[in-house]
């Protein structure tokens, strides 16, 4: 999956920082300030005892960072400062048909962000984007009314 057609092509400027280490790959994100870590536990079901949601295989780690970048630059955040993203129609972020991605704001600004897909089929973690963000995505035509209603109903 690529972000071509994304409203801001400049968002696609994550830079990998070094070799894989500490169970992930670190990137300097698009804003040139944030760090983003693509975690191994969200790239493969093996190697972890606890269930985790998994990014789809055709979304590269760099593009995973780009998804985060878009969310950050578009200010798709909640009151806790966490960021969210929604896959375009006919696309998924997660292997279990997750269309939403959640990015956990780090406690310290020098720590990296990380994120993972979330959805109805996923883990029993009750994360869901705030209603205001769903409305914003609908109003900006990022999502259809059917997707908007389904997300509000929490069936996808």
């Amino acid at each position: 999956m690529t972000l071509s057609g994304s409203p801001d092509e400049g968002a696609r400027t994550c830079h990998q920082l070094g070799a894989p280490a500490d169970s992930g790959i670190l990137y300097e994100a698009c804003d040139g300030v944030s760090l983003y870590k693509s975690m191994d536990v969200h790239r493969s079901a093996s190697g972890t005892r606890h269930q985790k949601s998994i990014w789809v295989q055709d979304l590269s780690r760099a593009d995973e960072c780009h998804v985060f970048c878009e969310a950050k630059l578009e200010e798709w955040s909640d009151k806790n400062g966490d960021c969210w993203s929604i896959a375009k129609e006919n696309q998924y972020y997660g292997t279990r048909r997750e269309k939403v991605a959640f990015f956990d704001a780090p406690n310290n600004s020098t720590d990296p962000w990380h994120g993972y897909p979330v959805g109805k089929n996923g883990l029993p973690i009750r994360r869901w984007p705030p209603g205001e963000l769903l409305q914003l995505w609908l109003d900006s035509e990022r999502i259809s009314f059917a997707t908007f209603k389904r997300l509000n109903r929490e069936v996808m």
Binding site: Q51, R96, K120, R126, S144, A146, K149, R150, R153, E154
Partner: protein, 407 residues
Amino acid sequence: MTAKLYGLRIDLPGMWTDGWLYKDHLILWSRTGQMHVTPLKELVAAVRKKLDRTSLYAIADYLIFRNDWKASEQFERMRSIPGVELAFISQFDAAAEHIVVQVDGVDQVPVGGHQVPGVVLDAAIYANRIYVGSTDGLFETRFNPNVPHANEPLIEQLVDKKVRSVNAWYSVVNSSAGEDGLLFSRMNFDEVRSWWDVKPHFEKVADFSRGSSFADVNLLNYTDDAFPIFMHSQVKELAEGKPEDQESDRRQVTGYSGTTAIGELIKSFLKPRGSVYGTALFDDPGEGRIAVLGNSGNRMLVNWNNSLRVLDLSLGEGKGLSVRRDRDLGNVSVPIDPLDVLDTYPFGKGFLLELPDEVRLINSQGSFSLLGEPVAQIRTFPRSRRHREVILLVRENGVSLLGYYIA
């Protein structure tokens, strides 16, 4: 020979979010939460104007406006006469999937003057009481089919809770409010004051609920777990001469007396005999390889290791709960990845499945695609005599009523 589905679809334009067919009226909610009412006879007249032959009037009646005719013994007998069924289905164009009727100019009159706050998530109508669950709470109003455009107030009954699912039957309302729980309230039919002055009492009967659905008179509460919780209902039989605005079932639920976990029951029934696998294969509900996706009465649609199964749940007197393969749907092959099932709806003796880009019917006659696009909401009327096999679909730019015949 493979069964074929013949469909009739009526399309009404507009930006809608939910709808119901109730006591000869079409009730629709706009995306701003405003309720609109249209007498069905007006819709029937508008549809007939669009049909190019009178034989299609009967098709529309049988498939959408009068399902009781379709289910009648009289129709069954007529169909047994050679040629009658062929004549019926000959009205459908062999090349087209459905007969589609685009209807414009039908007045959908706004009523009440009040808009349901938030995003409408679900609605239930019972005994002229309308309950709407939204992101902002549970709201109640009334509907008088004799004065359908009367301006009844809209009363907020549950505040600051996201009510994602409502069901109303057996004189109770069950509201699923996620982490705020499953909230149960009995309907008061002894109103001596104005109904809006009587505040219903809500009891929290479960700590978490995504949705609930009646299995006969008992309740299945769906949570984040793979299996719903079976809630045993306490039931009172109404005396003869019930109040005239109560629905036809004489039983009233008065509360829930206990719960039963049904996961082990289902797993032990479906696990292969003499399996070499340990319980670990089945003991991971979060994997999504085993889960109850929904129920249609006592029928449960189960994801079993990435294939769909239909099981019947029964509560024998003095015997406890048991599970068995459904006699009608137990052997229907459903080539759908269970992960694609967004939601399920009770529908006759089968299920409607809401898939990402499709609405599909599965019943004893097979698996049939009804619409090949994403929908915002599906509404079925399993307890309606006249619309039992009608589907209301909220689409991107309108609402459709869909009826069908399988031959």
